[in-house]
């Protein structure tokens, strides 16, 4: 009689609404430990690269801004930079500053969104509510500047479509002060909390070596001590004129990634403030009549990492090839290095730490086909929160209260 040993597989997915794409994680487990991970994706492939070949160059920014609602400034920016490279166009100074302001506001709201979700996953719902409350005015600012809270549609080949409304500068600066103060309180509450230290340190460690092997980008790389940031390394928009620094941490765990994101938020606030004060006068667009044959690479630092667009033109009015790489495409495979050997309770958080908003899905289910146990979204959250509660009890720490922040 032949006997095959069946390894229990926890099936996480395949529906993943918060990430705007479906993903299916199959965790091979031994008890509570994860021994292997397999990712299946593309359940909802939208064929944007192919679609892009059917559109004219000036229509594509609106297509690519719909790749991701949260990164809807960085995708069109990377694309127009690639096309501007082919055409040899340099947008006017003012347009570069407007692009910088919009992209940094996007980073602030995305990082705050992540902090909130991270708090929610481990049972700190106060952090969730406060972070999202502080995020709201950022979206309001974006709405006032571009007309939309997301999908700004403000960047075009050769410059920007709309200028910053006249007289809005004092309001932006005032809001930034408020956001900075609130984020400072939030950061202090998070970084000084002994329970969070115990809960997040040493969890989901991605070593520097693995970060290089898996070529991760953004806060995922910077949290593992890889000092890269396209804004500094291959400067675009107005970043080279402004004073800011790249935040890195060496530990590679979830805590390090949280620290990177929180401190980056302050750098973004600094960047917007300087850009608003230095905003040069003048036109916001130059006319681009034709895109010559050629190829160009455009890069922009999205909140989750480097966004890369490659465009090839044959001199017609449509690209012959348009390759897009969003940061999660390289960040997600690094789970193979950071999740193996971890507890299921920690995997929830580790997967969330690269910011694909993993746990907040109603149809997320864990199926143990060995014992026929089904864990749903609530059960996974409970596992993660129980661990936090256990640490709280062990350290004798009081829970985080509203008045603490």
């Amino acid at each position: 009689m032949s006997e095959t040993v069946k390894k229990p597989i926890l099936a996480v997915g395949p529906f993943h609404p918060l990430q705007e794409e479906m993903e299916f994680f199959q965790l091979t487990v031994d008890g509570e430990k994860v021994t292997d991970i397999d990712v299946r994706l593309s359940y909802n492939h939208r064929g944007i690269e192919k679609l892009s070949e059917t559109l004219q160059f000036d229509q594509i920014p609106y297509l690519v801004s719909r790749i991701c609602g949260i990164c809807s400034a960085s995708h069109p920016l990377a694309y127009v930079q690639a096309v501007e490279e082919i055409a040899g166009v340099k947008p006017p100074e003012r347009a570069l500053y407007v692009r910088t302001i919009i992209n940094e506001l996007e980073r602030i709201h995305s990082h705050l969104l992540w902090v909130g979700l991270g708090g929610h996953f481990i049972g700190y719902d106060t952090v969730f509510m406060w972070a999202w409350k502080y995020r709201e005015p950022v979206l309001d600012l974006l709405e006032e500047i571009t007309g939309n809270r997301n999908n700004y549609g403000n960047v075009k080949i050769g410059g920007c479509r709309e200028d910053i409304p006249e007289g809005i500068e004092p309001k932006i600066l005032k809001e930034l002060d408020t956001i900075e103060k609130k984020t400072e309180m939030l950061t202090k509450a998070i970084l000084d909390d002994p329970v969070l230290h115990a809960r997040l340190k040493g969890v989901g460690v991605l070593s520097k070596k693995d970060a290089v092997r898996y070529a991760v980008t953004g806060p995922t790389a910077r949290g593992s001590g890889v000092d890269i940031d396209v804004r500094r390394d291959d400067p675009y928009a107005a970043y080279a004129d402004l004073d800011w620094k790249v935040i890195t941490q060496d530990a590679g765990d979830v805590f390090a990634k949280a620290v990177v994101r929180l401190l980056e938020t302050f750098e973004s606030i600094k960047i917007v403030r300087q850009a608003v004060k230095k905003l040069p006068k003048g036109p916001i667009t130059t006319e681009v009549k034709q895109i010559p044959p050629g190829e160009g690479c455009g890069r922009a630092e999205a909140p989750r990492g480097e966004t890369f667009h490659y465009v090839r033109s044959d001199g017609g009015n449509r690209p012959v090839r348009h390759k897009i790489r969003a940061p999660s495409y390289v960040n997600v495979p690094s789970f193979k290095a950071s999740c193996i050997g971890a507890d299921i309770a920690d995997v929830t958080l580790t997967l969330a730490a690269v910011d694909p908003c993993y746990s907040c899905t109603e149809r997320l289910a864990v199926v143990d086909d060995h014992n026929n146990v089904i864990h749903n979204h609530e059960a996974l959250l409970r596992l993660s929160r129980e661990k936090t509660a256990k640490i709280m009890k062990e350290t004798g720490a009081p829970g985080l209260k509203l008045e603490d922040i």
Partner: protein
Amino acid sequence: MEQQELESRLSQMEGKLIGTQQTKNNRIFLLCEAEKCSDVCRFLFEELSLRFVISTGIDADDCFEVLHHFSNDQTGCMVTVKAFIRDRTKPSIGSITPFVPAAEWIEREMHDVLGIDFENHPNMRRLILCDDWPEGVYPLRKDAKL
């Protein structure tokens, strides 16, 4: 690595290349035949420690092109290896995944959408296409009728 050093190190690879293009925007394209591609990429990744960014597969009219994009983050220079696959009936090229694990997904994707075979790839399952997609239909080819 400084730009000058990068350029001089890249010139060591000249024997394997059929041409080099450099644009004023800090982009270098290394042109090679498919057979030499993985050697060139191994040199860039292991010897020069360039960061792998992504690959692009292109259906050019007379051949397939596979572009591996690398980044030298110290200078913001992008080095792209452009490999030409001349055989259109059975396109095939050496995989870089054995030494650049980050390339696993994109090589599987190119295999799906363009039908390019990556030799020595450790896990050539479908990534983009669903399981019941018909064999031999490649959606990103120019002659695809969808």
